[in-house]
Structure formats: structure tokens, C-alpha cells
């Protein structure tokens, strides 16, 4: 038995199940990060003094990472576009690129964390670092999750392209939506943590 509207859209909503599902998921993600941002503001406002991000954190490195993540968003959407144009080869390239860029991001983060830990700057040191580690850490988990999914569509998942291209394209679009959201979160994390 097949579930209706996994591939074709339902007439009255004009949407597939997956599309609605991913957006609902993102909605809950918004509330998750929303709560963290709210906590950040609340604690910062309450604090007698608060360090400027760039006095502690490495802005150039983070800027580089921002660029990496944004580029990965573009490759992601290009990957989807190539499927729309029925160019599976280019899809592979772009998708591979997306995954690699994600990897670069994680590697950079790894060194960033390592650096701070060497300097003895732990989450427990002060609330600025506490927030920094918590927010970026959670975001990092999201990046990792997105990478796994994308890698799957790049590799084994791509089999679906042969049997049901439409469905495959949809799934890539949905994992793309998640990936862009992760990028979007970073776009706000970057200034709030590093620049202010």
C-alpha cells in the first residue's frame, strides 16, 4: 500500500507530504533556536558586563566559515537545480561539493574549539563562553546531521533517481531546505556571538 501524495502534490494544498513535514520540522527548529537566542539576550542584559565577541573569538576564521557555509548553500540549491534540468552528473558534483564544504566547516570549528580549550577557555569559564559553546555546538550537530543526509543522497540514496526521479528531486529539495535553514541560523549566530 502506498501513502498518497509522497510524490505528487495534493490538489487543494498544492503540496507533497514531505514538503509540509520538513517545514513543520523547521518551525519547531525555529522555536528551539528562538529559545536559545532569548536566553542569550536575557542573560546578557542581566550581566553587569559582557565581553565583545571579537575580543575572545577569532573573527577572520568565523568569517571564512560563514563564507564556506553560504557557498555550501549555493551548491546545494544548484544540486537541486541540476536535477530539475535532469543533469544527474552535475548534481553529483554539486552535492559532493556541499558535503565537502560542510566538512570544511566542521574541521575549522574543530580547530577553533581546540584553540579555545588550550587557552583554558571552557564553557564553565564564563557565561559568554557557555552560550558560545552551547549555541555553536548545537548548530554544529545540525550541520553534521545535514551532511549525513546529503551524503546519503549523494551516495546510496541516489539509486532512487533511476526508479523515481520526481520523488528523488523532492527529497533533495527537502534536505536542501534543512541545509539552508542551518545556514540561516549561522547567519544570525555569526554576528551575535562574534561581532557584538
Amino acid at each position: 500500500m502506498d501513502i498518497p501524495y509522497t510524490v505528487e502534490v495534493r490538489r487543494d494544498t498544492g503540496l507533497t507530504n514531505g514538503k509540509i513535514g520538513i517545514w513543520l520540522f523547521l518551525a519547531s527548529e525555529v522555536m528551539l533556536f528562538g529559545a536559545l537566542f532569548a536566553s542569550y539576550i536575557l542573560i546578557r542584559v542581566g550581566a553587569p558586563s559582557w565581553p565583545r565577541g571579537d575580543t575572545i573569538l577569532d573573527v577572520p576564521l568565523a568569517t571564512f566559515n560563514t563564507i564556506v557555509l553560504i557557498s555550501s548553500s549555493v551548491t546545494m540549491v544548484m544540486a537541486w537545480a541540476s536535477l530539475m534540468r535532469r543533469r544527474f552528473g552535475t548534481f553529483r558534483i554539486y552535492m559532493g561539493g556541499t558535503v565537502l564544504l560542510g566538512l570544511v566547516f566542521l574541521v575549522v570549528k574543530y580547530f577553533e574549539y581546540g584553540h579555545h580549550l588550550e587557552l583554558g577557555e571552557y564553557p564553565s569559564t564564563n557565561n559568554f563562553l557557555a552560550i558560545y559553546y552551547t549555541l555553536t555546538g548545537l548548530h554544529m550537530l545540525h550541520v553534521f546531521g545535514g551532511m549525513v543526509v546529503n551524503a546519503y543522497f549523494w551516495g546510496p540514496g541516489a539509486k532512487l533517481w533511476k526508479t523515481n526521479p520526481v520523488w528523488f528531486t523532492n527529497r533533495v529539495e527537502h534536505s536542501g531546505l534543512f541545509w539552508h535553514f542551518v545556514d540561516l541560523v549561522w547567519i544570525f549566530l555569526f554576528p551575535t556571538l562574534y561581532l557584538l
Partner: protein, 109 residues
Amino acid sequence: MASDHATDMTSDHAVDIDKHVRVYITVFVALMVLTIVTVAVSRYHFPVPVAVTVALIVATIKGSLVACYFMHLISEKKLIYAVLALTVAFFAVLLALPVLTYSDGYWIR
């Protein structure tokens, strides 16, 4: 539209997709520029309120670009808009939380 393409492989829309791709590139460039801008601005240590407003405005623009074009929100179905509207409302409540806490009473430290 854009979202429907997912379910629409007819070649005459390929043209349409090309248009999209061009948009993506422009957005990409814009995002890069804005990134540089925020960093640059933060170099001059403006007073916190100014810095915050600028940073947030830029971030919001970047965010909306990603949401509208990469995530196709610019042309989504009503249903998705409805869900997001609801979310935004409660998100606002969340962000009001600090304000509440420090507005009155003895919650202020």
C-alpha cells in the same frame, strides 16, 4: 511555482530553471558582500546599540535572502505561510521573554 518544479520535469521549464540559477548566483554574491559589510562595520567599534541594530539588520537581510530564494519562500503555498506565521508569532513571544523579565517587579537583578 519554484516549489512545484520539484514535481514538474517538463523540459520547457528548464528555461525557467535557468532564470532561477541566475537568481541564485546574484543572491550568492549579495550574501558575500553583506558578510564583508558586517565584519567591516564591526571593525569600527560603534556603541553597542548602534552595532547591534546594524548587525541585526544586515543579518535579517541575509536571512531573508536565503529564506526567500534558496528556500523558495518567495513563492510558497498559502499553507506553508500560515504555519510560518503561527511560528513567527510564538517566536515573538519567546523573544519578548527577556523584556518581560526585566520590565517590572523584582525579577530585575
